[in-house]
């Protein structure tokens, strides 16, 4: 997997820097960079994700094809039986 590392420069107010420094002195973070890294992680977790265009496009196609959830569950079950027989050479599905 590709790893992307990088640094970001942020301009903060003196008041915020003072607060961050006091948290560093209190031992909660190693340094300012450590604080910002934690803050970014926290924010990324909190933010509700947006549905990417690819998924929206696939959803539109599914709508056009009138695929219902019940149909999808049934079709997945059929494919699972096929795939199981092909992969494991077992004709008997129900034990």
């Amino acid at each position: 997997m590709e790893t992307l590392n990088g640094s970001i420069t942020a301009r903060l107010t003196g008041k915020d820097i003072k607060k961050i420094d006091s948290l560093i002195i209190a031992g909660l973070y190693n340094n300012r960079s450590d604080f910002l890294k934690n803050a970014a992680r926290h924010l990324l977790r909190e933010e509700a994700p947006e549905i990417p265009d690819l998924i929206l496009r696939l959803q539109l196609q599914a709508r056009d094809k009138h695929i219902s959830k019940d149909k999808a569950l049934k079709d997945i079950r059929n494919v699972r039986h096929q795939l199981y027989s092909e992969s494991f050479g077992d004709e008997y599905i129900f034990s």
């Binding site: 990324l44 977790r45 909190e46 933010e47 509700a48 994700p49 947006e50 549905i51 990417p52 690819l54 998924i55 929206l56 496009r57 696939l58 959803q59 196609q61 599914a62 709508r63 094809k65 695929i67 219902s68 959830k69 019940d70 999808a72 569950l73 079709d75 997945i76 079950r77 059929n78 494919v79 699972r80 039986h81 096929q82 795939l83 199981y84 992969s87 494991f88 077992d90 008997y92 599905i93 129900f94 034990s95």
Partner: protein, 143 residues
Amino acid sequence: MNIFFLDTTIIISSIVPDRSEYIACVSILLQNNIPLLTNDYVIKETRRVLEDFYSFDRSDINQFIEFLSTKLDIVKTPSKEEFSKIRSNDKSDRPIIFSAKKHECILITDDIPTKKDALKYVMALHSNEAIEVFEIKLAKNRS
């Protein structure tokens, strides 16, 4: 640490906006708090349903599978010997239940019989239950 093992029903339901509950599936797939896992068996099923049953655009399917590989860790399908000890009403569910158990995951599935059988071996939740139990934020459409 909690890890979700996603069944094909969750992956496919994330792109089938039939009922409001699809949002639960897409939110599970997009969240970044809980690591996601699945196996090759589920990925093969997903591709086959989209290609052979629904004839989705091939390049969109490829992109979707690629997207899934960035969101989920995909482990190998277990061998028949490995999953032979799993007892399930439908034998074809065993590779899924076994992988979830082996990797100590919580199985997320919207298929009621699969969930029922899986509960003998692992924690198993419906997508809506997972949203509630783990307080997962619901994904939103770009405004």
